[in-house]
């Protein structure tokens, strides 16, 4: 089924939210949601990196890992004359390591560009950027896109892969904002002593996930 942009957006923001339904990106979700400003900064940085990372890993997957086919050429094969094993290419062996290197490099690059060209944005987002390398939502969206490409009918073209990453980031931002506003309210209230801090945060995340469960099959979109 060819999913349109709107369907993709609804699916990855609401129905299968990266944090609340797919269990990705918990370290920042519980780590930096104590203050609203922190979680907004982190969320924006994640949107940016996730969109870029899914586009770049899509390119890596097609032009470095997969062997040449009628839809795409393998750069190593075409330019360097290396023989890429058929039909899997290097996907199983080099997928994880190449993706994590690409993401780490990308984060470093974004940090440098921001520091040089947009100092204001860098001051707001800079401290969150290094943390994003080990955010499993970023690697997760690349791996999930790869899983989808296994089935050629299901694969997302480059623009849609980037859109999927962007929307995943928006879903992440939504979850972060909801969580930090809840935690700001909780902090002002009396909580049983044993549940203070992390336990009550988990339980409120559970209630939030319960609410998000209600989006299943929204507008007839199944994920």
């Amino acid at each position: 089924m060819e999913a349109g942009y709107v369907e993709l957006a609804i699916a990855s923001i609401l129905i299968s939210n990266f944090v609340l339904a797919k269990f990705l990106g918990f370290c920042p979700f519980f780590g930096v949601t104590r203050r609203m400003s922190d979680s907004v900064g982190m969320g924006l940085a994640v949107i940016f990196v996730m969109a870029l990372a899914s586009a770049v890993t899509a390119l890596v997957y097609r032009h470095l890992l997969l062997p040449t086919s009628d839809q795409h050429t393998n750069v190593l094969e075409a330019w360097l004359g290396l023989s890429v094993p058929q039909p899997e290419g290097y996907v199983l062996v080099l997928k994880t390591i190449s993706y994590i290197l690409v993401i780490a490099g990308l984060v470093q690059f974004v940090e440098m560009v921001l520091r040089k060209n947009v100092p204001n944005l860098y001051r707001a987002m800079g401290i969150y950027l290094p943390l994003i390398t080990t955010n499993c939502a970023v690697l997760g969206v690349a791996l999930l896109n790869t899983e989808a490409w296994r089935d050629p009918a299901n694969g997302l073209p480059l623009a849609k892969a980037a859109w999927n990453g962007f929307c995943g980031g928006v879903g992440f931002l939504l979850a972060m904002v909801l969580m930090s506003s809840t935690r700001e309210r909780i902090a002002e209230n009396r909580v049983p002593r044993a549940l203070r801090g992390l336990p009550i945060a988990f339980i409120s995340a559970g209630l939030m996930a319960l609410a998000f469960l209600g989006f299943t099959k929204l507008f007839g979109i199944s994920v």
Partner: protein, 269 residues
């Protein structure tokens, strides 16, 4: 022997899930059944031990500035090996359930955390034992969570249906209709939250008992009812200790209040 003693205490004292609060994503995602949880914990432990040993062996050659990148490359190599081994050996159902969480071991903070905090400063043998100890701790906590979720959420244990227990004509455990929500995302959050609460409660009680034992000759009454100085002072738990300090939890004033109250009572008595 120091190394051995350290190893024995590690699964509890350095428990990755409940004490260090690391690696939560796979913990919540794969704990739908005991078999999945155990498989995930074994995969992560294998990677942890291998990467700890290798990083500890090459720790002297890694330049300090790029050590994190080196750690990630080492870990990614072992994760790829682990993924291939799992594909070859593990049952299809487990591979399907674990899905992307096997390659995601790369960004699992437990492994990077141990590499940074332990393996980069200790010898290979100590690092191996550290990996094994932390891995056993991970296995224990993942096993506990997935045991609860499988029994309550699916009504099965290790894939076998649980039947009502009848002892001598009386039904001890009646037929149970599983609560499917516990197998889904919300159940995972709530069960882990409650388990965290339980362990905090036990920790608080033990710390309090230790403090009371450390203040001798205090009348029991003073220990149980310290004078509340004013409303709201007890808002923070008495010294949640190192565990909570890192997360900025409010360490309340009532620790001092308690000892003050005890001292006052002591002076009177």
């Amino acid at each position: 022997m120091g190394l051995w003693k350290e190893f024995i205490q590690k699964p509890i004292q350095q428990n990755p899930v409940f004490v260090l609060v690391l690696g939560l994503c796979p913990t919540l995602a794969v704990s739908t059944s005991l078999a999945n949880g155990v498989a995930m914990a074994c995969a992560a432990t294998g990677v942890l031990i291998c990467s700890n040993v290798l990083i500890s062996l090459i720790r002297k050659f890694i330049p300090n500035q790029i050590r994190i990148a080196c750690f990630i490359v080492v870990i990614a190599g072992f994760v790829t090996m682990c993924e291939i081994i799992m594909k070859a050996l593990a049952p299809e159902a487990i591979n399907k359930a674990l899905g992307i969480f096997i390659p995601l071991i790369v960004v699992n903070c437990i492994i990077l955390g141990r590499a940074e905090a332990y393996a980069s400063q200790h010898g290979p043998l100590a690092s191996m034992l550290d990996g094994l100890g932390v891995g056993v701790g991970y296995l224990l906590s993942l096993g506990l969570i997935s045991f609860i979720r499988e029994v309550l959420g699916a009504g099965t244990l290790w894939g076998y249906r649980l039947t009502p227990v009848v002892l001598g004509g009386t039904t001890v455990i009646p037929e149970y209709t599983p609560a499917a929500v516990l197998g889904m995302a919300p159940g995972a959050f709530i069960i882990i939250g409650l388990l965290f609460g339980l362990f905090y409660w036990i920790g608080n009680r033990r710390r309090e008992a230790a403090r009371c034992a450390a203040v001798p000759a205090v009348p029991q009454v003073a220990r149980d009812f310290p004078k509340p100085p004013k409303e709201g002072a007890e808002a923070g738990g008495p010294g949640r200790g190192r565990r909570a300090a890192g997360r900025g939890a409010a360490v309340g004033p009532s620790a001092q209040v308690l000892t003050q109250g005890a001292r006052r009572a002591q002076g009177k008595g």
